[in-house]
Amino acid sequence: MIKVENVGKTFTLFNQENTSIPVIKEASFEVLKGDCVALVGKSGSGKSTLMRMIYGNYLTNEGKIWVGETNIVGASSRAIINIRRHILGYVSQFLRVVPRVPTREVVAEPLLAIGKEMDEAFDIAEKLLERLNIPPALWDLSPTTFSGGEQQRVNIARGFIRNYPAILLDEPTASLDSENRSVVLDLIKGAKSKGTAIVGIFHDESARMHVCDRQVDVSNFSPKLES
């Protein structure tokens, strides 16, 4: 479902004396349907970067990244938008909050974007919010004023509202208490059983052990610094 082939990335900072910072080199791994792969490695090793490259949020300089039948590297904007809409979901670390939009709508948005009826979409969103212990009183409010944990759960609901064939999860259980953490892990397991391919970054080792089948150590893809 997701295949990373010899992928490399270098950041070039033009405004800081054209510094070149290679961050990923010759990364390869594969995630099959129903597989859950954890990206591990110490802080700064490039886990989030690699995840963003798979999503097309960061450009990839070398190699290929296959999501389904499409190579993300060099794909047109339109192709990537299509993949994000139908094939690949992404739960980022932080919810990008838009003022004024009620939580129910924030969560339902991926369904509305593919043309689902508003009532139906809101229904599904509400059920998911309930499962994640976000009380109905908050459904009409914008998440701007929610706590970190609440925002994270809204973010997760939004990421899981559709049955994507593949999803990327960046620290899905951070800032959650144990009860909500197990809800999220259940969601992940549920997705797995539906055949979703999952790539996740989990700071919490027990959560990682709970749902992931394999680990990929991203520090193996760190370029050796030339001295």
Binding site: G56, S77, I81, R100
Partner: protein
């Protein structure tokens, strides 16, 4: 709908030796929002005005998928054709609402004008549609007979949007739609634009200097400097992983609140 809506090739406009915009190429599909960012003098407004036919370009073609005749080069169209296009399939939302409204005509008249311009002759139906649209842009229908001079800036801008969208255009050009508005008003307006774009499957080309606006509204982004497009791609990619030195400068210059 998977048919290309707009195909722009080699669009250039010069003012003597000075470059307005040069060699712009892109395509646009139904339901897509394209953002154009740049600082003052980058050529973004020139580009928008050339695309919308408000200013005559020197080179290039802008092919638009017309309803009846397929892809046509809008630069080759006769003036009546172009004016008809701008009243039906196209819309232009000006930065200053006063440029896009008739200030001495009531809100209802403003919204109804485009309907009357394409032959609507039933007062009751026109008025109902105007009421409908005022509600959609969150203007209370009790204001339907008020002149825009009695509206706040944000309301005027929302009225301008209603006036433009009432005939169901497929392509909307927006020039700094939130410029000059209070921050809270901006949020409301952006939210409105976003939901209308989604509900009506609109395509839009939005010019702005505000990166937060493009992040919210645009799927794709073009960054302009000195008349040239220096970088383009997915909005989140261009803003999160800028490749061009100017884009990097632009992104890093944004103050965090």
């Amino acid at each position: 709908m998977s048919e290309l809506l707009l195909d722009v090739t080699g669009l250039s406009k010069y003012y003597g030796n000075r470059i307005g915009c040069a060699d712009v190429n892109f395509d646009l599909w139904p339901g897509e929002v394209m953002g154009i960012v740049g600082e003052s003098g980058s050529g973004k407004s020139t580009l928008l005005n050339c695309l919308a036919g408000q200013v005559e370009a020197d080179f290039g073609e802008v092919f638009f998928s017309t309803r009846s005749e397929g892809m046509k080069d809008t630069f080759q169209m006769s003036e009546p054709e172009r004016r008809m296009l701008s009243r039906t399939d196209w819309a232009f939302v000006h930065q200053n609402a006063r440029d896009g409204l008739r200030m001495n005509v009531s809100a209802g008249g403003n919204v109804g004008e485009r309907l009357m311009a394409v032959g609507s002759r039933h007062y009751g139906k026109i008025r109902n549609k105007a009421v409908d649209w005022l509600e959609r842009v969150e203007i209370h229908n009790s204001r339907i007979d008020d002149r825009p001079t009695a509206f706040s800036g944000g309301m005027q801008q929302r009225l301008q949007i209603a006036r433009n969208l009432v005939t169901g255009p497929r392509l909307v050009f927006m020039d700094e739609p939130t410029g000059g508005l209070d921050v809270s008003v901006q949020a409301r307006l952006l939210d409105l634009i976003k939901s209308l774009v989604r509900e009506m499957n609109l395509s839009a080309i939005i010019v702005t200097h505000d990166l937060a606006v493009v992040r919210l509204l645009a799927d794709r982004l073009m960054v302009m400097k000195d008349g040239y497009v220096v970088e383009s791609g997915l909005t989140d990619q261009v803003l999160d992983d800028p490749q061009h030195s100017y884009t990097q400068l632009l992104v890093s210059s944004v103050l965090q609140a």
